[in-house]
Symmetry: C2
Subunit: 412 residues, 2 copies
């Protein structure tokens, strides 16, 4: 099971072979026929309005319970619609996950103060996932897709077992993920048990793998009861010291090393990714943000990996790679906020507290070299490159635009 | 511009370098700070209720107008909620695309019969996109993400210009897409103009590229005014005969050859992909569906490519590759509908009219070989492998489940 959850997580694929035969159906395929109907909200209420009376029952009923901790439902029509949209995201997720015995509820931060306190809900707008005696804060984008993917990952085994070299090759291709792998005698091993306990602390954000196969361990140069930690996009893993390791040792090591130099932003943990930036320095930090739109993602990723590997020791350096195609809704927003044409390559520094930004001039035919990039990153780190724009202007712009467009819509 | 739209479509990437400095902010990053706020519906109505009086005004006002042609708003509370959800998808898309002067509206198939007839809206539930004198039916998944991505693609140049070998390498990596590329003297060329006119007929579903560089044309072995057609996952392109080609010749060729042997299912054109299956045989066909869940997507894709290349001449063969991670909402649905454990590798044939399915036993450690797969595909094509299950049972199961869960929810 461990093995298959691993395989599905990493390499699910479906193949559909379409063979023509006679039929009378004229309607488009997916909308009308069976086997590929896309789930659409059926309008049934599944999300529970959690209160003092029913929360214990809900906890018992479901193997996993997801609670949205939200501000009181506002009076304004606009804000009510906004709240409704959030509610419907939960309803669709609840409908889709019904078969999996996963429950969904909403906790009002004013009406249900007691329950919130009992359950330890603190951050308004967050989804808290209760699984056994664990509480996991969902730090991803609040969309049905993202929430369901997160919960499916949470349903899988905390440790994914690699049984052969085919699976090992798949492990090698996961360079975007933070991951650990350990070699143990078998699934009875007490050290494997400790490793598994540690894995549960980080599931599904950080991926834990194990092998019981000598041949696999050999390829990974893992000794018995040894655990390696892989930072995203780095070639060599770091070994957790003083094997065999206890749950506490592994948890402590991961907590210390989890902040990567180069990381890809994913919808399922985008907020968590940022929070790492907040806490990794031990202090709450303000971050200046370097933003780059490059004419060739592929070549440029190779370049960035180089720079990241050379500078992975630098405690201040943390690069987040964003593929805008993963966030289409943000593309117009970025173009507007940064006043740049994303149809041209852009390199810039953005101050994330006020969206001030500064942009480098690039020759469209000629990308920066690794050295040029490294020099510039140095200038950003040293503060030589920084932003000066006035953020209030941008805000005003936005509001003006909205007002204007509202009126003109109403005119129709 | 053509070049950059090409680059952004294929290789957009953003890089964020986070540098710790002092700050007092304690709140999570993306939700509170500037530059990465995720667009959330602001509750303002932007979607226009289109009627006899206002549709001309709307057409004039926007460079692109998207109209959802929908059934009358139903009475039942459940169905109204369902309709509301669809409406909110449009509202969020309208909010995000406001800056781009793209308008959104809804046309009621009963109240607005006249308008619908004037505009040629026929299929309830479809979104019709009006751009200049073109009407494009949006055949993707009706989610804000997917619709916005589709519209952004539609805003780009119909032909993307490849100016150097760096861009050519990116073109080479696009094996998943149906694409054409032509070599022309310059952007004044009448044949380039014909090519561009043809491109507009298929934008954004099929991608058109052009080069004016001798060096690029040489690498592609393109003669002057020659156009090559690339089928997804095939190594060699097919050349459009009798160059130089008119718009009509290119349109006819693409229409005839667009149905691929192997294609990846994408949210932005999933319905269109199926409709190709419906029409490619000249007749409306009923399709039996072959579905495979394989333990290693990567190795297996290589295998499938082989089989597809060997059998690309077979008119009856059309394989759709689905990466379930692209459709998380469908994973529980597939598990339920096909009664299979997607945590194990599965190979089966599915009858798409009633979701009957039949599954092969596979040894978990041992994938089928290309030959075994080819033999089996032959058996499916010949009808030796087919489905016999009774679909009514499945339906009943589903309904029962829903009822059960509804009741138990209400109990709370």
């Amino acid at each position: 099971m461990g093995a298959w959850s691993f395989l599905t997580q990493t390499m699910r694929s479906l193949w559909l072979l379409l063979i023509p035969c006679l039929s009378l159906s004229l309607a488009p395929f997916v909308q009308t026929e069976k086997g590929l109907e896309f789930p659409r909200y059926d309008g049934n209420d599944r999300v529970i309005d959690i209160n003092d009376k029913n929360y214990k029952k809900a906890m018992k009923k479901y193997s996993i319970l997801c609670l949205l901790y939200h501000k009181p439902i506002p009076d304004g029509k606009e804000l009510q619609k906004q709240h409704q949209m959030t509610e419907m995201v939960l309803e669709l997720a609840a409908q889709v996950m019904e078969e999996k015995e996963i429950g969904f509820g909403m906790v009002d931060s004013h009406e249900d103060v007691k329950v919130a306190k009992k359950l330890g809900l603190v951050e308004e707008g967050s989804v808290y996932v209760f699984k056994g005696d664990r509480v996991i804060e969902f730090d991803g984008l609040l969309s049905a897709d993202t929430l369901v993917e997160f919960l499916l990952d949470l349903l899988e085994e905390p440790v994914e077992v690699i049984g052969n070299t085919l699976e090992l090759r798949a492990f090698d291709r996961m360079e975007e993920d933070i991951r650990l792998i350990g070699y143990f005698k078998n699934d009875e091993s007490e050290y494997y048990h400790e490793f598994k306990e540690a894995a549960e602390q980080f599931q599904p954000y950080i991926r834990f793998f194990a092998t019981f196969e000598k041949s696999v361990a050999k390829e990974l140069t893992l000794k018995m009861n040894e655990v390696d930690f892989y930072e995203p996009f780095m070639e060599e893993p770091v070994t957790v010291p003083d094997r065999p390791n206890s749950e506490e040792e592994i948890v402590a090591f991961v907590t210390e090393h989890r902040r990567p130099t180069l990381r890809k932003l994913r919808a399922e943990d985008m907020f968590e990714t940022w929070e790492i930036q907040l806490t990794s320095q031990g202090l709450i930090k303000h971050r200046r943000t370097f933003l780059l739109r490059c004419s060739d993602g592929y070549e440029f990723l190779e370049l960035l990996k180089e720079v990241a590997r050379d500078n992975t020791h630098h405690p201040g350096l943390s690069i987040i790679w964003i593929d805008p195609d993963d966030f289409p809704l943000l593309i117009p927003y970025w173009e507007k906020t940064f006043h740049v044409d994303l149809f041209k390559p852009q390199i810039g520094v953005v101050n994330v507290t006020d969206a001030d930004s500064i942009w480098l001039e690039i020759d469209e035919q000629d990308l920066p070299t690794a050295q040029e990039l490294e020099d510039w990153i140095e200038d950003v780190l040293s503060g030589k490159v920084n932003t000066e724009d006035d953020d209030d202007d941008n805000d005003d712009d936005d509001e003006d635009d909205d007002d204007k467009d509202d009126k003109s819509d109403k005119k129709l």
